[in-house]
């Protein structure tokens, strides 16, 4: 049985891959970055672009055993004023974050490539509960995944499950690349990817449908739900208004 992890070369994906290897799972680690994949000891590396038209078939071809679990962790963002981010970058965010996981899920199911108890895990974002001014297309892609997770549950064969993870900002290259504020104090407050990965795997073992790594993310999601107005305005001030040049 195989654990498939996309975006495994860095950040949360890498932390998840290492934790799964530690647990003795056989991991198929996918990323664009072949060199970084090669550094993950014990994983079967597969380097290619998940937005390629034959991406799903490449994964199926690389599988030696059925998929016990697939974690769709690959994702990019783009922060800045919506109108200043190049159109092709908006399109790329949609293609990698949203289209690729949906295509891969549909193809794995159609090809019967999953074990009867397979877990389909999507990595969403807290922005589903709060909005994300300054990363509109990223927020859109993650809301699509969250919705897909819930709908997918209804059509999956009995035994399989689908889960959506809602992480907050992590101490990763991803956050460093897109966050408006990378001061030492802010970075130190972020959750480490290793801690998030451990919490996510525990929640998956318990078959939690919505996975919030840590109480802070849960509290933030709750606040966004009950006070959408004030939370939206706060994010506009703290994220959007501090952004200068687009970060792609």
């Amino acid at each position: 049985m195989t654990t498939v992890i996309t975006g495994a070369a860095n950040g949360l994906g890498r932390a998840l891959a290492l934790a799964c290897i530690e647990r003795g799972e056989s991991v198929l680690a996918i990323d664009l970055d072949a060199a970084a994949l090669a550094e993950i000891d014990g994983a079967q590396p597969l380097a290619f672009d998940l937005t390629a038209p034959d991406a799903a078939q490449s994964i199926i071809a690389a599988l030696e055993t059925p998929v016990a679990c697939i974690i769709h962790c690959a994702g990019i963002s783009g922060t800045g004023r919506f109108e200043d981010i190049p159109a092709e970058h908006h399109a790329r965010i949609m293609a990698l974050n949203f289209t690729a996981p949906v295509q891969i899920t549909a193809a794995l199911l159609a090809a019967n490539a999953c074990a009867p108890t397979a877990k389909h895990v999507f990595v969403g974002s807290l922005s589903t509960f709060t909005g994300y001014p300054g990363a509109t297309s990223y927020a859109a892609s993650k809301d699509g995944l969250s919705s897909f997770t819930h709908s997918l549950r209804k059509s999956l064969p009995r035994g399989m499950s689908s889960h959506c993870v809602y992480p907050g900002p992590l101490r990763t290259d991803h956050a460093a690349r897109y966050a408006p504020d990378n001061s030492e104090a802010t970075v130190a407050r972020r959750q480490s990817p290793e801690e998030a990965a451990a919490l996510i795997l525990t929640a998956m073992d318990r078959r939690r449908r919505a996975i919030f790594p840590g109480w802070k993310t849960r509290a933030f999601a709750f606040a966004g739900r009950i006070l959408p107005g004030p939370v939206g305005r706060t994010l506009r001030q703290s994220l959007f208004e501090t952004l200068k040049e687009p970060k792609l």
């Binding site: 038209p53 799903a56 004023r81 919506f82 109108e83 159109a87 092709e88 908006h90 399109a91 949609m94 949203f98 289209t99 949906v102 295509q103 899920t105 549909a106 193809a107 199911l109 159609a110 922005s127 589903t128 909005g131 994300y132 001014p133 300054g134 990363a135 509109t136 297309s137 927020a139 859109a140 892609s141 993650k142 809301d143 699509g144 995944l145 969250s146 919705s147 897909f148 819930h150 709908s151 997918l152 549950r153 209804k154 059509s155 939206g232 305005r233 994010l235 506009r236 959007f240």
Partner: protein, 232 residues
């Protein structure tokens, strides 16, 4: 006269919206996928038609639609959409690509391309979502996800464009349009109760005049219009 762009106007809600705004005397720019020669006879006179396939939302396609509108645009109703009724494993890769492109990526890119024109007129942007954007939907998981994504985009973009261009999303429920035939929805009994497109279009027009950022036409709306429809 104020001007409006309506995408997906060759059929269904979009075409009914064209009638609505044309009868109010607005300058209407209608977008559709069908060939101009086939659609033109069905559209009211003086409506400008722009043909573009939004399932490949390339720079050229988006620019063509945007450039068909005046430099100062009062309203954009991004209505074009498509759906397929099938669980994910029976949805083809091409269908998945098309749904995401037409329902999510294209409206995002159009919003971006239209921004300067809308800003010049102090105009408004209205996305047409779907009541399916909420909840879980076994047989149209991908469609629902594309509309949830659009809904998320509207929420964040509204915060970004606050004070510049108001952003609104309107979620119609099941409407008696050609979309369901194309989507492969069978002849189920519930279709009798689907709201007529001209009723939905008028409700959209009213919602656009109001300033609610998000409007849902839920079951009560459907019921009210089903009763009103059966009386006429």
């Amino acid at each position: 006269m104020p001007s409006v762009l309506i995408t997906g106007a060759s059929d269904g809600i979009g075409r009914a919206l064209v009638e609505c705004y044309r009868s109010k005397g607005w300058t209407v720019i209608a977008h559709g996928r069908r060939q101009a020669s086939r659609v033109a006879p069905q559209l009211p006179a003086q409506v400008k038609y722009v043909e573009a396939d939004l399932n490949m939302p390339t720079e050229d396609t988006i620019a063509r639609v945007a450039q068909a509108t005046p430099d100062s645009l009062d309203l954009a109703i991004l209505n074009a959409g498509m759906g397929v009724v099938a669980p994910p494993e029976r949805t083809t890769p091409a269908q998945i690509n098309d749904m995401i492109a037409v329902n999510t990526t294209a409206p995002l890119l159009l919003a971006q391309a239209l921004f300067p024109r809308l800003q010049a007129a102090q105009g408004k942007l209205t996305f047409i979502g779907s009541t399916a954007a909420r909840g879980a939907h076994r047989d149209f998981a991908v469609y629902a996800a594309t509309k949830a994504a659009l809904s998320g985009a509207a929420r964040s973009l509204r915060l970004e464009w606050e004070g510049r261009v108001p952003v609104q999303i309107i979620h119609p429920g099941p409407t008696a349009t050609g979309m369901h035939d194309k989507a492969g929805l069978g002849d189920i009994a519930a279709r009798k109760y689907f709201t007529a497109p001209d009723r939905v279009a008028r409700a959209i027009e009213t919602a656009i005049e109001g300033d609610k950022p998000s409007v849902r036409f839920g079951p009560l709306f459907m019921l009210r219009h089903a009763i009103a429809g059966s009386r006429t």
